[in-house]
């Protein structure tokens, strides 16, 4: 019998608790399993939240390598601290809080060093996004520059904001989180979030006035 035939005749093994079946579980169940040391359950949690955590850290640092390191550290720290998670807030909020604090600490330590951009490329959909199309097709100085240059100007302006103001803009205007959730993540009240957002937008409008109407 050839190896291929032998393999075909073997009974199919259905994984009992592999990542495929774990993917159907809700978040509290996955968290409970991960708290018991189930790394496969934690793997599912990582895959669910990695993009948003990475995006937040990346927008704060404007550096892909730093964002990759901090995202990795955030999940490792979350796993090590998972037994202390009591479920007072959602896992998402708790995880975000770790990521935000880690990022703020990183930026505080790096405050005296010059900032180094390492921007990610824009995806293919950027040129077809209605907002972006409207942005570059109007009669403004923006017409003269391409999207990559606009991206660099935008990131440079964002980095001129203080860390907390930048974080609020990222979480609200880019990530689309509600004020209350941001307040939970940043450990402040929603009034503070609103006032920080208002001030940050004013500053950004002043910094990017050449590219706005």
């Amino acid at each position: 019998m050839r190896p291929a035939d032998f393999a075909r005749d073997r009974p199919i093994e259905i994984p009992v608790s592999g990542p495929q079946s774990l993917g159907d579980l809700d978040e509290p169940s996955l968290v409970r399993r991960a708290q018991g040391g189930d790394l496969d359950a934690f793997d599912v949690l990582v895959r669910r939240h990695q993009e948003r955590v990475y995006a937040t850290v990346y927008h704060m640092t404007a550096n892909h390598e730093d964002a990759a390191d901090i995202t990795q550290e955030t999940f490792i720290k979350a796993y090590n601290a998972l037994r202390g998670f009591k479920g007072d807030c959602s896992f998402f909020t708790w995880l975000y809080r770790i990521g935000v604090n880690r990022t703020l600490n990183f930026l505080k330590q790096r405050r005296n060093r010059p900032l180094q951009f390492s921007l990610n490329d824009l995806d293919f959909n950027a040129e077809h996004d209605p907002d972006i199309v409207a942005l570059v097709s109007e009669q403004t100085p923006r017409r003269a520059i391409d999207l990559t240059e606009l991206q660099q100007k935008l990131n440079a302006a964002m980095l001129k904001l203080s860390e907390v103001h930048r974080m609020v803009v990222i979480l609200h205007d880019i990530q689309g989180l509600p004020h209350e959730e941001i307040a939970g993540i940043m450990d402040c009240n929603s009034g503070t979030v609103r006032s920080r957002l208002f001030y940050a937008r004013q500053q950004l409008q002043a910094l990017l006035s050449d590219y706005l109407k």
Binding site: V46, A67, D121, A126, N155
Partner: protein, 167 residues
């Protein structure tokens, strides 16, 4: 009626550009594996300063903390004793520190063997020869010494001398 344009609308459009910044292809496939490998390897992440780490260690290990505290206290006491010996090597200085009943003696009560300069008083009850003295501000001679008046040394505090002594 047309609503006035929202000033932040353009800004929000501009910010939407950030949503299209994507990491290199395959990054989100590799990241979970890197995380799990590090967790399995027992990797720990700490963002504490050395002072916070030391404090956490002391709180976590009370026996070690007590030992370090005892060691620090012993070192401090040893340093103080060495310092005092160096300052007054021949005098029974320890007695002066322990003598809580020290009283001020007038010259009349002082031992006869003590040759106390005029206008000086005893500060302690230490044995003769080790007394500490200072000018008696309530006698004329003592006040003169106290205010540095009538001595051979230059008068550096003449402006502080009371008028009845300056005469």
């Amino acid at each position: 009626m047309e609503r006035p344009p929202d000033p932040s609308r353009d800004l929000l459009q501009l910010l939407s550009l950030k949503r299209h910044e994507m990491p290199p292809p395959g990054f989100f496939k590799r990241l979970p594996n890197r995380i799990l490998v590090n967790i399995r390897a027992g990797c720990e992440v700490s963002d504490l300063t050395w002072w916070n780490r030391l404090w956490e260690f002391l709180v976590r290990e009370p026996i070690a903390a007590s030992s370090y505290a005892a060691l620090a206290m012993g070192t401090a006491l040893f340093a103080v004793s060495v310092f005092r010996t160096a300052v007054e090597p021949e005098g029974p200085s320890a007695l002066a520190w322990q003598d809580t009943s020290a009283t001020v003696h007038s010259p009349a009560e002082a031992p006869a063997t003590a040759s106390l300069p005029q206008g000086m008083i005893y500060l302690t009850t230490l044995p003769v020869g080790y007394q500490r003295v200072r000018p008696d501000p309530f006698s004329a001679a003592g006040a003169a010494r106290f205010y540095n008046v009538g001595l051979d040394t230059p008068q550096t505090h003449a402006e502080t001398v009371p008028t009845h002594l300056a005469r």
